[in-house]
């Protein structure tokens, strides 16, 4: 069921519509909040407060943006306020130019000496595409901030780069750079795990 239909039902007081929206978006709210606040517990509080604000403000939602965008903006605003209150420093913008593939993998002329092999050809992923999803999930969880939030919101949640930038208070250019480095790191971790298993 589309979000808009769930909203109509929620406005009519339908509890199942509320629980379905919570199931769809709660973990994303926690992810956005966690980018700003210091602990998982605080992030969970911010996410829960967001739902309260949503239920209270639902009749005023004019549907000029998608429900998802509206919901995440409320969460980001609350998380920013909480972060200011706890004097927390938000993860820094990316530093300029670092290579995302280890330099030892290239020769002096910049050509591969240890070239990558498509994951579709690796033993563990060839027969079980679920194994790649599991490996990618673990790799994303291991990323530091701000890469983890950017990769999660863009590639897992499928938000646009513009929405990611606005939710995390970054420029679109910085989102692109952070996304590039985060994806490259995930690729590197997944690739290393396949090489480790071959030995």
């Amino acid at each position: 069921m589309e979000d808009a239909e769930l909203l109509d039902r929620l406005l009519g007081g339908d509890e199942t519509a509320f629980t379905e929206l919570v199931r769809r978006y709660h973990s994303t709210l926690v992810r956005v909040a966690r980018y700003y606040v210091g602990t998982e517990v605080l992030a969970e509080d911010v996410a829960q407060d967001t739902w309260v604000a949503v239920v209270r403000g639902l009749e005023r939602f004019e549907r000029r943006s998608s429900f998802k965008t509206w919901l995440l903006r409320i969460c980001a605003n609350r998380a920013r306020t909480t972060a200011v209150r706890e004097h927390r420093t938000i993860p820094a913008d990316p530093s300029p130019a670092v290579a995302t593939v280890a330099s030892r993998r290239f020769d002096e002329g910049g050509m591969w000496v240890d070239p990558p092999v498509p994951f579709t050809e690796s033993v563990e992923f060839r027969s079980d595409s679920g194994a790649l999803v599991t490996a990618v999930r673990a790799a994303i969880s291991s990323l530091g901030e701000p890469q983890r939030s950017v990769v999660t919101l863009r590639d897992v949640e499928g938000l646009s780069s513009d929405d990611v930038a606005s939710l995390l208070g970054l420029s679109v250019g910085n989102v692109r750079v952070i996304l590039h480095r985060g994806r490259a790191r995930v690729r590197d971790i997944v690739e290393s795990s396949t090489k480790g298993n071959e030995q």
Partner: protein, 84 residues
Amino acid sequence: MRWTAPPLVCREAVELVSDFLEGSLPRRERRRLERHLAACDACDAYLEQMRAVIAASGRVTADDLDPDVLEGLVTLFHQYQQES
């Protein structure tokens, strides 16, 4: 005479792959990368790995919601309904 950028080497090409997949490379850079990929199986494999990672990311499902969290939120929902 028009200035033509020199061909990319692999070390440079891998740094453009994410922007290429985002569709955010300027046209000239995109063409340079496409020319390189057409001639380089290793960088083409790198691109395929990156595509596979992004596709797999899209299949990562949300963490299962803690039943206590859901129950607490439903209670809040009922409280609000009674107030309003």
